[in-house]
Symmetry: C2
DNA sequence: CATAGTGTAATATGTGACTAGTACACTATG
DNA sequence: CATAGTGTACTAGTCACATATTACACTATG
């Protein structure tokens, strides 16, 4: 595959985002097994250690569970995923509002722009 | 002063944002002279080179003009500033929409969250 | 129990972004 | 022309990130 990564953010971080997105979008389902670190490394054209870091982060976020010798699985805890969804939504919104304020735009002004886009 | 900086973004970049914000907010006016690199370095508790990089970025964006031996001044070109305002507004909006999509949220869903915040 | 497939750990290396220290070049001012 | 105040250039150090390599620990499967 050899994915293309943006250069303004660590690869491991982009992969975490991607997997989270896939979970929230339903592309990955609760209890699903992720590819092995070695598989995923080849798929994405990245080093095994980088994938390991990705899986480590995901586990620290409690959205995956790792079983040695078996693989890494998405948690079956639906509440956790729902919580994740809310957390990320909130974080996104707050970051946005912070940026808006820092640059001196008003919320209303930005809402108009957003509505008129895509 | 010794400003406090977030650790997830380069200092110079945060300073650029800050100055752009101050301009857009009207805290800094067209033609104003910015502090000298050394002054600003002391004010913010940062190295001179970091400030220099900030001023360099600003100049590359055509929002300041630098005169050796005299100082760095905010452009008097009002059109440029207006353009900057539109650019940043657009960029902000687009980045936001990209993130939303990547995580599988809908625009409408996020607009609701935004309206109910701050 | 052998084997192949999991995740994990440790170490070394290269690279680029960021920051810092120091010295230089230009300009205004007296 | 001396001086102090500008911006600028050069060099070096630090750190996070990614990679490469190797070895280890656990589990399923035959």
């Amino acid at each position: 595959m050899t994915m293309d990564f943006s250069r303004d953010k660590p690869i491991y971080s982009q992969l975490v985002d991607r997997i989270c997105g896939d979970i929230l979008k339903g592309k990955l389902e609760l209890g699903d097994r992720l590819p092995s670190v070695r598989e995923y490394a080849v798929e994405t054209g990245v080093n095994v250690n980088t994938v390991q870091r990705v899986y480590k982060e995901l586990e620290a976020m409690n959205i995956t569970e790792t079983k040695r010798g078996q693989g890494t699985f998405i948690t079956s805890n639906e509440e956790r995923i729902e919580l994740l969804r809310e957390e990320m939504k909130n974080q996104l919104a707050e970051n946005f509002l912070t940026s808006i304020e820092a640059l001196g735009f008003s919320k209303e002004e930005m809402l108009v722009v957003l509505k008129n886009k895509a």
